[in-house]
Symmetry: C2
Subunit: 466 residues, 2 copies
């Protein structure tokens, strides 16, 4: 499937047609944000922005889309509009790779309401997923430590072509390489891989399989040692091959464990390799790994150098989705709000800016303050629902987080590579204190409102309460 | 992204290059199967086949794929091979939409080992995901009953472009329609939708928003009534509009509840609508629904006509993935096996056929028997690991389940529409006794081996045990 503007929910087009007829010049501001951190953690890593902007720059309806919509009751004049549809709005966004938190705008779309509505589904579809996976990847990186190598190998369990974007997001969140050739090619991510059991099974004997493989592909050669028996067959055979490679002036990169008790087997394997003077041969481990299994392996002292992570990474288990939403906050300059019986789900009116408070060491203080965009010198934040809780950050440094990334449908900044975004993400995570990164009961990062925003929101809530 | 043959794991190409050099004429049989039913249920609905076959018929490497691989150390002769690569193998498969069970081949690929290896990742990527989602959809259909209408509206939470395939699989599993315009267009799935909160927020008042919408889109008009207050604002306004529509000779299709207690609100709404002589106006409910919530709503007598299901459907929560595997079972006519410390993970050798046993009413008896493909008159099955357990089905009807669907890279059968596959799936689920469909402790469908297959498997296990 090629992404066209028809990769959206039908109701976007139904509503767009009403706007087209009744108020074709309406200007809207929509906020993208989520309400709960993924994985019961303390943050998320924002990802998918560059893809969204690239797609928006060229997004249009195909001829067959128009024909389809014609057959489904849309009106001629509106179809003419759709034929020429281009997104020409302006987007303010957090930088891709930044750490973000619940209930604050991560991105804002300012556009004709027809355009803003048509792109909603696609924008949510890309940002929700990549943010989920980049966050998962960052957690796995956190438990593996910077000394470990992390390989994404989840493509076969990914959600069809969603796996393409999963590999990109994994790299942003801290993975070193992917097995996904297409994603590696298009996004310039390092590509790596080992071998499959079927390769060894296709031979009458394991040693011959290893030998053929190592001869033809000596660079970054990793031998899979658990097809028959790890310690009694795979590893002794791998050692024979490593010695043969040495004679040719080559080096075996590693052996891969894909089943059994990885802590026990990796320790045994390390010892056997070291005893054979193969201290340089690395140990690769895979098999249903996630941040918790890796943390446990680390705590047990398992001497694993490279972790191959698949299913749990690319599907973002156990969450499987990030509930990011896209809410109208301003229409033709007037503030808008969505009420809810659950007060935490009440949306924030107006186009906004978000300020991050820094402590004296340049670390994140643990507070983002949301203000009306036009406000100057924002120096305080108030708890959204408890006016007794507030923070004055007059004497703190702060960063405005939302920057213009698209104007009139055109990208403002030069393209950023996945590697640049990944580096930026790492630098931001380093500024986030440890207590927000731990897996159990992560500290709650504070999100507050400026005086003005809180006041305006409360006025609107009162106005709409019946 | 366009799917090309580079949408695969790097190791497939690394191994393929070794095969290309050392045994370019190797013929392999690979089995596709999974080991555990999704969602702790009693079955899975097999989906994705038609997509896989369509993709395989035209799959090739793009010029940029070849350039990329050239830069990454692949050899010139192998790259020449890849330039002309086409899948020319033969595929035997269960029918798409059939109910399937763990540890029996669902599909078998018989091809040159290079080709069989290159397509592995893509095949798993598509089949695992669509089978997961079709199964989830069938469970939701089971709890909603045939009298309810089911709408897929999960695109915004789907895994990027994986959402395209999710909508297809949802239709196969029993959903009536999707909000996903692109999938509806390409797969000829009924498309439907309602309205968003932002539409109402863009107006100063809810009634005016409803009125504009109903006038411009009177067909299948559903009004979202919870933006401000369901019972005090949304519903009274919807009733006004319904009456205005009646005066124009039109009918309001429904009102949609998207928050709050859906059981309570749907009962109140039904009563209020009925009291206003609007018995024909349907109630649509959404908000984090899944098979369990719908079951509970049904048990409470909630008068909901249409369920809109999003996140939990399209991400296949809570599983998020199906662990389908692709294992070598034959190489150049010789049987192959993959051992494991876990006996249940030992693979089955040989190209195989699977027979489903039917009872005297044509219902599924609850047993599939796996035999070597060439075996004739298979009349018994033996438990894979417990020889004391067996079934003689000499006097039962049986169906061979694997049929040739692709020969020399070309599809054998005319295309099947999603609707045809969905109808077939429903007919198969109707033959599956209730006890395999319940959510708690589903009955275990028996999978056995023919005498010959069991004997051959045991010989190979003994041979490889060290």
């Amino acid at each position: 499937m090629n992404i066209t503007a028809a990769y959206t929910d039908l109701y976007q087009l139904t509503m767009a047609q009403v706007y087209f007829i009744t108020k074709p010049d309406g200007r809207a501001v929509f906020d993208y944000y989520y309400r709960t951190n993924p994985f019961k953690g303390g943050y998320a890593v924002f990802a998918g922005l560059e893809d969204v902007l690239d797609i928006l720059e060229t997004l249009k309806f195909s001829e067959s889309d128009i024909t389809y919509l014609e057959q489904h009751g849309f009106e001629r004049e509106f179809l003419e509009y759709l034929k020429d549809f281009r997104f020409q709005g302006t987007i303010y966004s957090s930088k891709e790779g930044d750490v973000v938190f619940p209930n604050r705008p991560i991105l804002q779309v300012e556009a004709n309401i027809i355009e803003a509505q048509i792109i909603e589904t696609l924008l949510l579809n890309i940002l929700n997923f990549q943010t989920l996976i980049a966050t998962k990847a960052s957690r796995i990186r956190y438990s593996a430590g910077n000394e470990s190598t992390l390989l994404d190998m989840g493509l076969r369990r990914a959600h069809a072509t969603g796996g393409y974007y999963a590999s990109r997001a994994a790299a942003i969140g801290g993975f070193d390489s992917t097995s996904n050739v297409k994603a590696a090619e298009d996004y310039n991510i390092p590509c790596s891989g080992t071998m499959a059991h079927s390769f060894i099974q296709s031979y009458e004997d394991e040693l011959k399989a290893f030998r053929d493989f190592a001869k033809i592909r000596p660079i970054n050669c990793v031998l899979l040692v658990d097809t028959y028996n790890t310690l009694r067959s795979g590893l002794p055979n791998a050692i024979i091959i490593a010695k043969e490679m040495e004679e040719r002036g080559e080096k075996l990169l590693g052996v891969r464990l894909d089943s059994g008790d990885l802590a026990y087997l990796s320790k045994q394997t390390r010892k056997i390799l070291d005893d054979a003077n193969l201290g340089y041969v690395k140990i690769v481990a895979s098999n249903q790994l996630d941040e918790f299994v890796i943390k446990s392996l680390k705590e047990q002292g398992a001497p694993i150098d490279i972790f191959g992570v698949g299913t749990n990474l690319v599907t973002g288990k156990p969450d499987a989705s990030l509930g990011g939403v896209y809410k109208l906050s301003e229409y033709n300059g007037d503030p808008r709000i969505k009420l809810s019986e659950n007060i935490i789900k009440v949306s924030l009116p107006y186009k906004k800016q978000v300020y991050r408070v820094l402590d004296t060491n340049g670390m994140f203080y643990g507070a983002d303050s949301i203000a009306v965009f036009s406000e100057e010198s924002v120096n305080e934040m108030i708890h959204p629902f408890d006016a007794t809780k507030s923070l004055n950050f007059e004497h703190f440094d702060r960063e405005p987080l939302l920057e213009k990334v698209m104007v009139n449908g055109a990208k403002v900044n030069p393209p950023r590579t996945v590697q640049e975004i990944a580096n930026y993400s790492q630098s931001r995570l380093e500024k986030l204190p440890e207590e927000y990164k731990r897996f159990q009961n992560a500290h709650i990062y504070k999100i507050g409102l400026s005086n003005k925003l809180k006041k305006e929101r409360d006025i609107l809530v009162a106005k709409h309460k019946l």
